[in-house]
Symmetry: C2
Subunit: 418 residues, 2 copies
Amino acid sequence: MTLKDKIIKKLKAAKEASFKLSNISARDKDRALLAMASALLKNTKYLLSENAKDVALANKTGLSKTLIDRLILTEERIKEMADSLKQVAALEDPVGKILKQWKRPNGLIIKKVSVPIGVIGIIYESRPNVTSDSAGLSLKSGNACVLRGGSEAINSNVAIHKVITECLAEFDIPEAAVVMIDVTDRSAVEFLLKQDSFIDVVIPRGGEGLIRYVAENSLIPVIKHYKGVCHLYVDKDADIGMALDIMLNAKVQRPGVCNAIEKMLVHKDIAREFLPQAARVLDDKGVELRGCSQTLKILKGIKNAADKDWYEEYLDLILAIKVVKSVDEAVGHINKYGSRHSDAIVTDNKSAAQGFLKEVDSACVYHNASTRFTDGYQFGMGAEIGISTDKIHARGPMALEELCIYKYIILGSGQIRP
Amino acid sequence: MTLKDKIIKKLKAAKEASFKLSNISARDKDRALLAMASALLKNTKYLLSENAKDVALANKTGLSKTLIDRLILTEERIKEMADSLKQVAALEDPVGKILKQWKRPNGLIIKKVSVPIGVIGIIYESRPNVTSDSAGLSLKSGNACVLRGGSEAINSNVAIHKVITECLAEFDIPEAAVVMIDVTDRSAVEFLLKQDSFIDVVIPRGGEGLIRYVAENSLIPVIKHYKGVCHLYVDKDADIGMALDIMLNAKVQRPGVCNAIEKMLVHKDIAREFLPQAARVLDDKGVELRGCSQTLKILKGIKNAADKDWYEEYLDLILAIKVVKSVDEAVGHINKYGSRHSDAIVTDNKSAAQGFLKEVDSACVYHNASTRFTDGYQFGMGAEIGISTDKIHARGPMALEELCIYKYIILGSGQIRP
């Protein structure tokens, strides 16, 4: 059997499993999720030893410190993976909800009902917890999933997959509900991305490079976000204390994530008062500032921001600052340079806030709050499988509801079309 | 300016127009739609003369009769285009609806609000009415649209586009709300499909060849249906009279459309009684039958159905028939060979119906009604821009609601993430 044949065999099994999964009771799904959580805990030793192989190899091949940190499993992290599965078990079943129902003049009753999407492909890098998180969310939403993690985490991923799928048979759930493509060659990903008769949607999770690769090579619909170039706009009517708090939180609390701010826009009327205070607290936290020409007049000695700075996702303690003349200019800048992820305005002016919230074309727009809240848990969705900056299907944090679609069920009594 | 530069210039204008459009009042959008309808009627003579150029060329180049029929405009058809715009004007505005709203323990208020998608790309063939229909639905839903019709209808499309966009300025709607790419070269389509920074979603409308071309070449998300291989399953507990009526309607009333049935599955216990009657009425209408081995035993002399028959969309007076042992076999067959479009069961048995409706993985599943109802107008949506057999964003008929997405508006009072 060739590699491709092996992959196709797995995909066929996943597709068949998906038909079965859409009919498994919420109770059985939840019991399976809890069993998966227990199995992870019970097999901690095994998981750690398999993970150690990956980490040893990563050290040898000189993987970056950040990536190795993401790769490492600890007892604590395995417990978090198990907790996450338990939390998903406790959430409401998203399948089978009647989203809408109406009757036509000819007597036809049309029901719009939530159903699982089918087979979800997840292409991801380094973090092994994505394996169990994705499996848990897919199972809960009645979807089969096809997992393809990075080669750097192959031993960890295979071990996690083994442990969690061993629990499924007991609940009459096919093992192929969670399929792992353990071929580390990149050509396997390219092949996978053409299998639109087996996989219904692909969600890539990782760096911009991986995501672009997936988007460019996929024949299957992809839901994605390339990057998070998030903005904070400090309006002339901002409460300065609040603006400083939000700025610091959004930039510094965790600078390496997609919902951290990368740019700050400041209204010209407040810039002379606000910027020196902002620079002081940011400097305390080691943030490098880059400014537009107006900013440079106020904050002497900071770096000049080049045009490409406005597009860049630093994922680091760097902030580019621009002075703007109006809310409209701020909105225009965000819609031009931003990544449609998360953007915030701080203001006490209701009409400025309303204009900003309405006109900024981003998945999440904030008034007087930190962009760091763009997250499934923070939104109260209980979990997230990713964040979308696309404009179809889902925007912002994607969780169980976003792993479902609908179908129309039409009930008649012999109606034919005239 | 190169061709590509010209296209990019138009796309930039469309993107900018889309930001403006999302803020135009329902009243102004509706008034513009009515003005567009009047303009079409007033310019009937001009539109007919431009259309005549396309038809003359099509006759010269030997375009098929079916395609020429689709291409031809008449006074009646122009009136229908105008009526369609009036109907869209009368529909409810889909933008700005609060789909959900909740408060987090930290006081954040999260609102999920419907918004236009942005810029919709429509790639289509022959029918010139798609130009005004798509423009109308896009405008009503607050989207800009980029239209690229087939070269065979270029004069008609350009004329319709000219007539309808001339109305926009009066309502302060940018002309680039409706952009026409009048480059007939196919390389223009390929170029267009890479412009994911300007176009948010592409909806192809036409034959399977066009749709596959778009799906394979697009970097922009595509919503599509390749084909409609629709099934009628006649259960052992079917009312035979009803089954015959639905079969005839679904096969014969308009065989060239995607929601007509191409296959009929018949339960073995009713086959001997039902099939001869079915064959008689279908024969009266000139339908060619192709059967499985079991069917051939009952309907002697009809063609044998090859395996490829079960996948094929005939779009013609041909029906393939298979005898099945159970509802489960019918469901399995449909999920394997079908196109996830529309499938129907005729039965008086409630549990058979429930199993079928739940397990058939199609956009629209019918109990005791004809598949021909899969249509925006028939569903009461007032219009449709296409039908989706994809599993994300939208399934089945797509209308105004499906041309919208949502954004999250988060209202705070200084919240930061702990």
